[in-house]
């Protein structure tokens, strides 16, 4: 640590920080996490109650439930928001506990890729049944 060469600052303090700020995007990730959580609240209440009453239902009944336009719409919204909320939540956890910058970037991109993959897969499954 101590033998790391230190650059002698010749810039003014303002000059050093210019362009390094949040540029009005700093709270975007945080805000989207709150927005998706608020949107997921009613969707999760609907989903938990719907699936709870579906125990032991026949294949045809389950497919008919998914195929109903209202259920398909709410399922698609739930899937999209849940994977978006999960990906950004996992990103914060990874950022907090991963030291190496390369590992951090690789793990975050892998988690986002997995969330995109499974999110689209679930959405295609709903659309295949509903359309």
């Amino acid at each position: 640590m101590s033998d790391t060469p230190t650059r002698v600052p010749l810039q003014s303090p303002l000059g050093r920080v210019r362009g390094l700020g949040s540029a009005k995007q700093g709270s975007h990730h945080w805000w989207i996490q709150r927005v998706s959580s608020v949107a997921l609240l009613p969707l999760m209440l609907w989903f938990i109650l719907s699936v709870a009453t579906m125990g032991g239902k026949e294949y045809a009944e389950v497919v008919a439930w998914i195929a109903h336009p209202l259920n398909a719409t709410l399922l698609l919204l739930s899937i999209g928001l849940a994977f978006q909320h999960a990906a950004s939540g996992m990103q914060v956890v990874i950022e907090d506990y991963t030291r190496s910058e390369m590992v951090r970037m690789a793990v975050i991109l892998a988690v986002k890729a997995a969330c995109a993959l499974f999110g689209v897969l679930a959405a295609v499954a709903v659309l295949k049944i509903a359309i």
């Binding site: 640590m1 709870a52 294949y59 389950v62 996992m90 030291r99 499954a125 709903v126 295949k128």
Partner: protein, 137 residues
């Protein structure tokens, strides 16, 4: 972790939230880490939802396999766990939204809402499975 100040000098910054310096058995820090843990668990649990939907789209045979797993002992254990996880993270999330709105920061209120999250999770999980058993029966 090692970072750099804007003038280029290296600085050793702490990781946040720190895992070693806090007593995790307190209701405050315990519920905070539990909110993260349930968030991670729910992310993994989403894969079961994907499986269920893809099986339904693939046809009766694939759906029968998924149905067989979800009604097995392990399947029900996972679904019960996911129900508790879902309710905890939902109620914990509401608590966080309350904080974001600027309310409930004093210690007595923090303890009260923390206990409410725990009790609410237990009650709603049992209630949800009450509905499952009635619908199944």
């Amino acid at each position: 972790m090692v970072g750099r100040r804007t003038d280029g000098t290296p600085v050793r910054r702490p990781l946040s939230p720190h895992l070693q310096v806090y007593d995790m058995m307190q209701i405050t820090s315990g519920l905070s880490i539990a909110n993260r843990a349930t968030g991670i668990a729910w992310t993994v649990g989403l894969l079961f939802l994907v499986w269920w939907l893809v099986a339904a789209a693939a046809g009766p045979r694939a759906f029968a396999t998924a149905q067989w797993f979800f009604s097995s002992f392990l399947g029900i254990l996972i679904l019960f766990g996911m129900t508790a996880v879902a309710w905890f993270h939902t109620l914990g999330g509401v608590r966080h939204l309350m904080w974001d709105a600027g309310y409930g920061y004093d210690l007595p209120t923090t303890y009260r809402t923390g206990r409410a999250v725990l009790i609410g999770t237990a009650v709603l999980t049992v209630l949800t499975w009450f509905i499952v058993i009635i619908a199944w029966g």
